[in-house]
Symmetry: C2
Subunit: 421 residues, 2 copies
Amino acid sequence: MKGFKKLTPLSEAIHSLLKLLTHRIRDVEVVEISDAPGRVCGENVYAPIDSPAYDRSAVDGYAVIAEDTFGAAPTNPIELKLIGRIDAGYNSLKLPALKPGHAIEIMTGAAIPPGSNAVVPAEHAKKRGEIVEVYSQVHPYQNISRRGEDYSRGELVLEKGQIVKPWHIGALASLGLHELKVVRKARVAILSTGDELIELGQPLKPGKIYNSTKPMLKALLSVYGAEPIDLGLVGDDLDLIKKKVSEGLDHADAIIVTGGTSIGERDLVPEAISDLSDFMIHGLAIRPGKPTGFAISSGKPIFMLSGFPVAALIGFRVLVIPALEKMLGCRFDPPPRIRGRLTRRIASPPGIRTYARVRIYREDDEILVEPLRVTGSGILSTLTRGNGLLVIPENVEGYDEGEEVEVEILQPIHAGGEYQG
Amino acid sequence: MKGFKKLTPLSEAIHSLLKLLTHRIRDVEVVEISDAPGRVCGENVYAPIDSPAYDRSAVDGYAVIAEDTFGAAPTNPIELKLIGRIDAGYNSLKLPALKPGHAIEIMTGAAIPPGSNAVVPAEHAKKRGEIVEVYSQVHPYQNISRRGEDYSRGELVLEKGQIVKPWHIGALASLGLHELKVVRKARVAILSTGDELIELGQPLKPGKIYNSTKPMLKALLSVYGAEPIDLGLVGDDLDLIKKKVSEGLDHADAIIVTGGTSIGERDLVPEAISDLSDFMIHGLAIRPGKPTGFAISSGKPIFMLSGFPVAALIGFRVLVIPALEKMLGCRFDPPPRIRGRLTRRIASPPGIRTYARVRIYREDDEILVEPLRVTGSGILSTLTRGNGLLVIPENVEGYDEGEEVEVEILQPIHAGGEYQG
């Protein structure tokens, strides 16, 4: 049986991965902006118009000539003649130019009339029939949103590679844009290997286990905006693994092969993949997930992840996510994190990066972090009982009870409770 | 024209909202687990079987009777007779009981054979033909994942109200479960009001602006797993607003009305909604978003959000998100946050909670937070130029230059760059 002669430090593995991964997803597709959130923007978007398209009032009040109000004060109101009213949406640009000594009532958002250069807020003035008394002076362009103040024509609004957010949709819509080019989704093929696996929906037989890693990986891929392609399940058969991976490489941007990393005397999956690739790292200095690795075939990545779901999740996190970012030219949101105090000591072997599952909870206004006891990398319940992940770097041998650590939040600390606006 | 006589503190508004919001979404629907991520779990899920379903080996090695290895050491190897090999997936439960002095080669994940109670790891033993030399002793159940160790039959796996994550899919699949009851999506109707608005796709006319708030809110609702229902766009017309909101209440779990919060002498939207509801708060002590409010009609919430997209985003965040959590019985993930040093002073009026848009960037290993200059709540570019939000509480009048603050990350700090595994 083979052990791992050398475990590659994670940073070294990621460095090689990002250097050798030359495949890029450059195809774009045009979608309605309502379908764009979460997609990777595929073009630099420049404002086609000024926004606002005209100088508009930022308050409810009175459009005036600023100079007419100079010296106005509660003790020295200045009277202006009220000549009309502009509701929001009214085309005030067709009005004749405002004359000195005149004012027009105006609503927030309405275009200010020609000749006017400031707005007196309603609360600083009083209407008396056809007269408005102004109690405070305004300087030119006070209370006016200038044309192009939000976006001026030709300005960069959204950059290629940004993940589209709801407020980007707002920005695009404000400029009249209802479509956007987005990068097509990454296609990631998944091949499960292992004679012990059976697929969901079939009855469980002695010695067999349900393939839980594949549905989890499919869900992860969806969460990261990728399209999973199912290459099925093969037994511990070298030629079949090679054939499937080879087929997958024709259609997918990346391949994930799970399980079968050390079967008997032979490491079947690494052996199969080695034949198909130009470069391979197998065995990472991480825990769980030691039998994790990747290979590069014509610039595309082939990931070898553990068949155990928790180790596969960590492998996905450390290798697949950065590879997706590189291929798509984007950067995903960082996970939420929180600082808390360890309820007991946790150890990590030197030179190994440990991803410890923890339970984060609140007690008397303090955030506490309890490391969960685990026996193997197959123990999914540490992720469903716990709600956090503590990363212990290679150069740290652990943390003491009471020490403050930063943990990643996998699940909100309270299910329910008061919202922290 | 009406100002706001009294601005309600946000905490008071949220308190009333959560107290009076009695409408609950209790309907569930059954989905394939692949469609479940991001949905709200609609049932307590208990393990239908033990997982693992049998005692299995946690390592590649040799299944033995632990007592046979007592005293084994590199200087004192113990010889056992090798009687066979169990590959992963093999039904070893049908084997005859292991006899004292015997060992069976076994792969990780395989069921241990009857009679055996421990596994010697491959690296602590050496195979010599039909003999295996054991170099270290194992205690009973060492290197064995016990039956039910991950989940024992009847144990709670996933709780009603949890947002389904990829690792939950893994847990359900490991137990052979391929379907899940999830809470139906919240249906939130959106009505835009304002004579100045035109919908996307139409040519822009003088005095008009594109309705950018609605597409943004629809995107936000989708991100939070809710289903937007479009009630269209109405002008500043009291009766029409009432009719539309009333219709919306028949089908939706909540209504959002944007704009029209203070049109001329009358606050049309609050007036319309007041007639339809039992309780109303209008005018919040937040910035931007002062003309934000909500009403309750037969236990359902009606939100009044600004017609300006940035203010509407803040209103959504402070009122709609907690209401969705209450109606669905769930809790959404907290946003990612980071601490950084302010590049310049930022002020906030006393008694007002300010949501300042900031640019977060890295300089020489330090995180810097630059408050963006804004002129109005309609300025979307502060969200697309910036990448963060700084919340200044009511009892703080601002932060000084150089002060350390915690900010919410709206967009990753670098587009590209090295992944922080």
